[in-house]
């Protein structure tokens, strides 16, 4: 059985082709400029695959999508209603799903949602202290955005007997969540992945007054501010150059010491919050593209007094799975079922 995974991004479409089990992809690639009907069709034509099932990674599903689903007319309609909350991403997804149906007719498409793992975040964690009307008008509530990774991290730790897990996904936009008995209780991200831990180019937690100050002092409009907070901040802002978490923590350049300290400190705060949320911790799981830096950070965290004083030392696990593999697993699970139904 051949599985095709599609990861639509802001500008590029990443694909991977798996045969049978989702371990190593047979083929993979990145196609630029896939947005819009015609470019999307041309992009799909370039993918050398005859899939039995397709997995599409969707970054936002709100509280509407609580797990993976097989795409159909109803699902597309529900996606459509969510577009105001993710106006750049969801239209591209909808276009992609429609074009896939033409390019690969009859092949089930499984949509997996980054936010699904967080659809049941407790209200105390989900809600911002804003006027009810504002929350509803703008859909301002907290989600997590690395749900696929965290779900896999939880399973990994649960197999080893853990029931309270701190999961750190070190992607360019990192995210930490506290999971108790499979349910996330606390997550660093917010209404968008901009809140929380600083990323490679995203600012992370800010005083809300600062956004207002920047608009006033610099006379910047929304677009400029958005670029500033999401493309020029984070590690790039702190160090003055574009760099990954692996680069930052592999080197010892003294000029970047402050950036390393800031990241470590923010992680320590997040771990303290996790401990308060779960009343303790059994395991920590590191995942994501920059798992090497994550392991160095986990070693540092374990040395801090708050972890040292735990009655049972925290176990640290590493999750090597890529997002593509996890999407392929979901496609196999949900799409495979559909195929078997069709065969029967």
């Amino acid at each position: 059985m051949q599985i095709l995974t599609l990861l639509p991004g802001l500008k590029t479409l990443r694909y991977a082709v798996f045969s049978g089990r989702p371990t190593r992809p047979q083929k993979s690639g990145i196609i630029g400029d896939y947005r819009g009907a015609l470019p999307c069709r041309m992009a799909l034509d370039k993918i050398p695959a005859t899939p039995d099932v397709i997995g599409v990674r969707v970054r936002f599903g709100g509280t509407e999508f609580r797990g993976s689903v097989v795409a159909d007319g109803d699902v597309l309609q529900r996606l459509e209603t969510l577009t105001p909350a993710a106006p750049l991403h969801l239209p591209a997804v909808i276009e992609l799903v429609n074009q896939c149906a033409t390019r690969f007719p009859g092949v089930p498409q499984v949509l997996t949602f980054d936010t699904a793992f967080f659809a049941d975040l407790p209200a105390r964690e989900r809600l911002y202290a804003l006027d009810d009307k504002l929350i509803r008008a703008h859909g301002l509530q907290r989600f997590g955005y690395c749900g696929l990774m965290h779900a896999a991290a939880w399973q990994r730790a649960a197999q080893k007997g853990a029931s309270r897990v701190i999961s750190l996904c070190l992607e360019p936009r990192p995210e930490l969540t506290a999971i108790q008995n499979g349910r996330p209780l606390y997550v660093t991200s917010g209404a968008t992945p901009v809140e929380g831990l600083p990323g490679q180019t995203t600012c992370g937690d800010l005083d809300p007054g600062l956004v207002v100050l920047l608009a006033e002092e610099l006379g910047w409009g929304a677009e400029r501010l958005n670029t500033f907070l999401t493309r020029e901040s984070g590690l790039k802002g702190l160090t003055g150059r574009a760099m990954t978490f692996d680069e930052l923590f592999a080197g010892r350049n003294r000029a970047y010491a402050l950036a390393r300290d800031v990241i470590r400190y923010r992680l320590l705060l997040a771990c303290g919050m996790s401990l308060a949320a779960m009343g303790g911790v059994d395991a920590m799981v590191i995942s994501g593209r920059h798992v090497a830096a994550g392991q160095a950070l986990a070693r540092w965290l374990k040395r801090q007094a708050v972890f040292q004083r735990l009655k049972k030392p925290v176990a640290v696990f590493r999750l090597r799975a890529t997002v593509e593999q996890l999407v392929a697993e979901q496609a196999l699970l949900f799409g495979g079922e559909r195929l078997r139904e069709a065969a029967a």
Binding site: A191, G209, D261
Partner: protein
């Protein structure tokens, strides 16, 4: 030396006349409804020897209110103040300790007003008016941010481009420092620990603003408020933490009108916005059968609990958790909800003792708890009076924030 401590709110002026250094209170009170005329008349509530009298007065601004207070003090036989101690919320990066007001200091105060647009301008205007009318009366400014000057750079830095943050003075300043410092010193004394070895998490939970402070060796190492008093905990009408992209979304919805967004986040959010019932968390906790009120209480308590965990992780081994100010001192259920199930930090509360935490200071931790849980009464006016006295009697006239 008789020091008149002045604390400007946006529409009030609290004052206390203290005989220093013995810290004897000679008179005190609050001028209410200072500013444009409101539905009810402006008045001064004046206390002498525990007896309160009410005095109507016309007070279009804080300077007039100050004159009325001086007249009232003279009329009730109080001695004339020898010096003034002003509470200033924001000291920016210019003021890391209390300062005697001279022309340079006043000019600098005026220059940093916009750092705290709601709080600094009335106090700064009052300092200027007092200096003009009573040039011989020594004045000292005491800053809420000063205690936090010891927050390490990595904890004070936002992940924004450094050149810009340097130019605009963007960093975490932290607030409520006068109160945090006061209760930390009281707590260390109560536990008979040398201040330099005292680690704690201080919870200043006011009926309006609230913040937590991580304390190592008697010094502030972090505060939940940030560049402005808007960040951190859920407050009566302030939102506390919010996704920067969400703030941006609100700014777009307001068509770029920063004033509207500022007002929304400062005046109609927090406990008021969430509950729709009241801006006072005490009312909201009591309205348990209202669904929105219940959600608001949960969000308020949860945010508090998360930050307590975060700062316990920062402090490492805390000698004490300190609760203070209106909510911290008088709401045992808030303390209990926040401290429950924190065994992993070595914390255990004696819930019975917590229910009747009197007299203050009071230890409400269980005997086996590795960390004490203290309820301590704050006294910002006394702290300002002490700092003013120390500043005026020290040789240099400028006292570092750590005395």
């Amino acid at each position: 030396m008789n020091i008149l401590v002045l604390n400007c709110g946006s529409s009030s002026l609290k004052y206390r006349l203290l005989a220093m250094p013995e810290a004897r209170e000679l008179a005190g009170g609050e001028a209410q409804r200072v500013g444009p005329r409101t539905a009810e008349p402006a008045r001064i509530l004046h206390n002498v020897n525990g007896r309160q009298t009410v005095h109507p007065a016309t007070m279009p601004d804080h300077a007039t209110a100050f004159e009325e207070v001086l007249k009232l003090l003279a009329r009730t036989g109080a001695p004339r103040p020898d010096a003034l101690g002003h509470r200033l919320v924001h000291g920016g990066s210019r003021f890391s300790g209390a300062v005697v007001i001279d022309d340079v200091a006043l000019r600098d105060l005026q220059a940093i007003q916009k750092l705290a647009p709601l709080h600094n301008p009335p106090a700064t205007a009052l300092v200027a008016a007092c200096r003009q009318r009573y040039p011989d009366l020594p004045q000292v400014a005491v800053f809420d941010t000063a205690y936090h000057a010891t927050i390490p750079e990595y904890a004070a830095t936002y992940a924004l481009p450094r050149r810009l943050t340097a130019r605009l003075g963007i960093r975490k300043y932290g607030f409520h420092g006068t109160s945090h410092q006061y209760v930390v010193e009281e707590a260390a004394r109560f536990l008979k620990k040398p201040l330099a070895e005292f680690n704690a998490v201080s919870c200043h939970l006011g009926s309006g603003g609230a913040s937590l402070c991580a304390v190592v060796g008697g010094r502030s190492v972090d505060n939940t408020m940030g560049f402005s008093p808007l960040q951190g905990l859920v407050m009566s009408t302030r939102c506390g933490d919010l996704d920067p992209a969400a703030t941006l979304r609100l700014l777009i919805a307001a068509r770029g009108d920063t004033g509207t967004v500022e007002k929304t986040l400062n005046k109609t959010s927090g406990v008021l916005g969430l509950s729709g019932v009241s801006a006072d968390i005490r009312d909201v906790l009591a309205a348990a059968d209202d669904e929105r009120a219940r959600a608001a209480s949960q969000v308020y308590l949860w945010r508090l609990r998360k930050y307590l965990g975060a700062y316990l992780a920062v402090v490492g081994r805390a000698d004490a958790i300190i609760f203070t100010d209106t909510i911290g001192e008088t709401m045992p259920e808030v303390r209990a909800a926040v401290c429950a199930d924190l065994d992993c930090f070595g914390i255990r509360m004696d819930f019975q003792r917590n229910a009747a935490a009197l007299p203050l200071p009071c230890d409400v931790a269980a005997a086996e708890s590795l960390t004490r849980i203290l309820v301590v009464a704050t006294n910002e006016e006394l702290a300002i009076g002490r700092r003013t006295y120390a500043t005026l009697t020290s040789e240099k006239g400028v006292l570092p924030c750590k005395s």
